[in-house]
Symmetry: C2
Subunit: 362 residues, 2 copies
Amino acid sequence: MSRCLISQEEVQSFIERCMTGVGTKPHHARSLAEVLVEGDHRGHYSHGLNRMDMYVKDIQTGICEKHGEPAVEKESAATALVDGRNLLGPVVGNFCMELAVKKARDVGVGWVVAHGSNHYGIAGYYAMQALKENMIGMSFTNTSPLVVPTRGKECTLGTNPISVAAPAADGDSLVLDMATSAVAIGKVELYERRGDPIPEGWGCDARGQLTTEPGRVLGGGGLVPLGGSEATGGYKGFGLGMMVEVFCGILAGAQYSKNIRTWKETSRVADLGQCFVAINPENFAPGFSERLSDLLRIQRGLNPANPDIPVLVAGDPERMHMKMCEEMGGIPYHMNVVNYMNQCAQKVGVSTLLPCDRLISN
Amino acid sequence: MSRCLISQEEVQSFIERCMTGVGTKPHHARSLAEVLVEGDHRGHYSHGLNRMDMYVKDIQTGICEKHGEPAVEKESAATALVDGRNLLGPVVGNFCMELAVKKARDVGVGWVVAHGSNHYGIAGYYAMQALKENMIGMSFTNTSPLVVPTRGKECTLGTNPISVAAPAADGDSLVLDMATSAVAIGKVELYERRGDPIPEGWGCDARGQLTTEPGRVLGGGGLVPLGGSEATGGYKGFGLGMMVEVFCGILAGAQYSKNIRTWKETSRVADLGQCFVAINPENFAPGFSERLSDLLRIQRGLNPANPDIPVLVAGDPERMHMKMCEEMGGIPYHMNVVNYMNQCAQKVGVSTLLPCDRLISN
C-alpha cells in the first residue's frame, strides 16, 4: 500500500477549507483542523484527517451547530459550567481549557465542565494546552457506548478517555492519553480486516464471554474495560470508565452511559459531557519540573526486559512519531485516505489536497 | 480455621489503647483506629487491624512522629501544600481532606497535597469523607516500589492507589478504591501460601517476563501495572501509576518512585506524598446525585453474563461486606490475627481484645 507525505500546513488548510466550505466559521474550522492534524502528527490516525468527513457531515446536516460560541453558565474562582451550545468539540474544548488555565493561574486549580459538546478529537490535545503555561492539564470526555461492564453483556459505557499532561524541565513532559477500555474499537476492526485473532482481554462476545474473534466483538459484543477479565482487574477499568462518566455526563448534566447516541448515529445531537482541569504546580512545592524530569529519567533509564525494546513513558511513542514526521518532512498518509478525503473535498466543492507526488513505500 | 466476631467498637478501642500505650496522642490514635476499623469493615483486611503492629512499631521506634500537628505551608482559595510533619498517615489525611472540603465549599474545588506523610490505610476512607458533604472526594498516595513498569524488570513504582467517591441519592454512592497495579501484593502472597499458581497478568519474574508462579513475583520480580502485558494495555496502568506519582511525590516534593523506602523497611522515615481533592457538584449542573443514581441503576440492572453473578459498581463489594458484618453483629477475624494482635497488646502492656467467645466456623 503506497503512502504519501503531506506537510502539516497542507493538511491544516485542507481541513479548514472543507469545513468552511460547508459553512463553518473560519476560526472554528481552524480549531478543528489543529486538533485533527495534531492527532495525525502524534500517530493517532484514528483521530485525525481520517475522521474529517464525520465533522463535515455534522455541519452539513445541521446536527452540529455552526453559529454562536460556548457560554459560561455558572462560575466560581476555581470552577465553571459551560454550555457548549452543540458547537464542534474542539471549539468547546479550547474554550473550556483556556478558562481552566486562567482559573489555575488565579487560584491554583481550574475545573471546567461542559455539556452540549461533540467529538473533540484526541483528549491529550486539551491536556497539553496547560503545558505551555507550565501547568498540569487534564481532559476527559464521555463517548458513545462501546464498553461492556465487568460481568455484563451489554455496552453501557464509552471508551471514556483520561488524559493528563505534566511539564518536565527543558520542554519534556509526561502525556498520558488513554481510553479506559483495554483497546480502541479501531484496533479490533483492524484485526478483523486482516483476519487475525485478537489477544484475549480486548473484547467479549454477545454473551459477555471474552473472545479472540474480532467479529464477535464487533457483532453484538463489545470492548472490555482496561484490565480484561474480572480476575485480572477488569472491574478497575470499569470503575475508571465510571469515574470519567461522573466527571463528564453526570457533573455536566449532559447525556451519559447508554443514553449517549451510538457511534456514527447522526440522527440526534450528541450532547456529550467533557471535563477540563488545570493545576498550577507553583501553588505546591518548588522544583516540580525538575522532579518530574528525574521521575521520567528513572523510568526511561531502566534496563529493559528485552534489550531491543526500551522502557517508554506516556507520551514517548507519540514523540517518536512526531520525530519521524519531522525527519521525513511531513505526515505519512495512506493513499486511500487521501483519495477518500479528496472525494469529500470535491463534493464540498473546494480544492483537493496539494498533489501527492511525494510517494513513499512502506 | 476458626474465626471470631468482634464489634467495631471493641476493635476501635483496642487499637486506640495499643497506640496510646506507646505514646500516641489520643486523638491521633483515634484517627488511625477509625481508618483501620473501616478497612476491616469494608473487607479490606490487608489495610486494617492486621497492620496495627506496623503502626505501633513506627511510633515505638520514633520513625513516625508522635508530637505536633500537620501544618499548611502554602495556600490559595482552592489549593494547599501541607507538611505532614512525619505524623501518622491518617492524621495527615484527615487534616488535608477536611481542608479540601472546606475549599470546595468556598470555591467549588479543593486540591490539597501533603509531603512528610506515612501509610494512611485505605485510600477510599479519605475520598468518602467528602460524601458527608454531598461532594465528590478523591485521594491518592504514593507507596513503596512494588510495580515493574511495562518493558522493565525492576520495581520503580508503588501500587499507587486512586480513590474516587461520588454521592448518589438516598445515601447511595460510587466508591472506587483501586491500586494501579493489577492486584495487591497481599493477593500474590496468599496464592503462594496456598501453593496455587496466579493468573497470568498479575506479576512478572526478575527478567520482566509475566509468570504464573507467585514465588517468582515475590522473589526478585514484581507486580505488573493494571492491564498486564503491553499487548493488553499494561502501559496504561503504568501511566496511571505515574499520574498518581505526579499528584503525590512530584507535586508535594516528597519521596517518589524508587527513592521511596522499600516495603516494611523502617530504618528511615517514609516521607510519602499524598493528594486529596474535593469537588462540589453544586458548582455544576443541578441534579447531580439523581443522575448518578440513574447511572448506578443502569449498570446494576444489567442482565449479567452469568445469571448467578450480578453486575456490581465500584463500592458494592464493600457494601455487601458491611451488610454481612451488620447481620452477624461484628467483624469476623481469623483467630490467628486476633492472637497475634493480643500478643502485641501484651508487649505494649495494655489489655487484650475482649474475650473472643463468639467463634464462627467458616
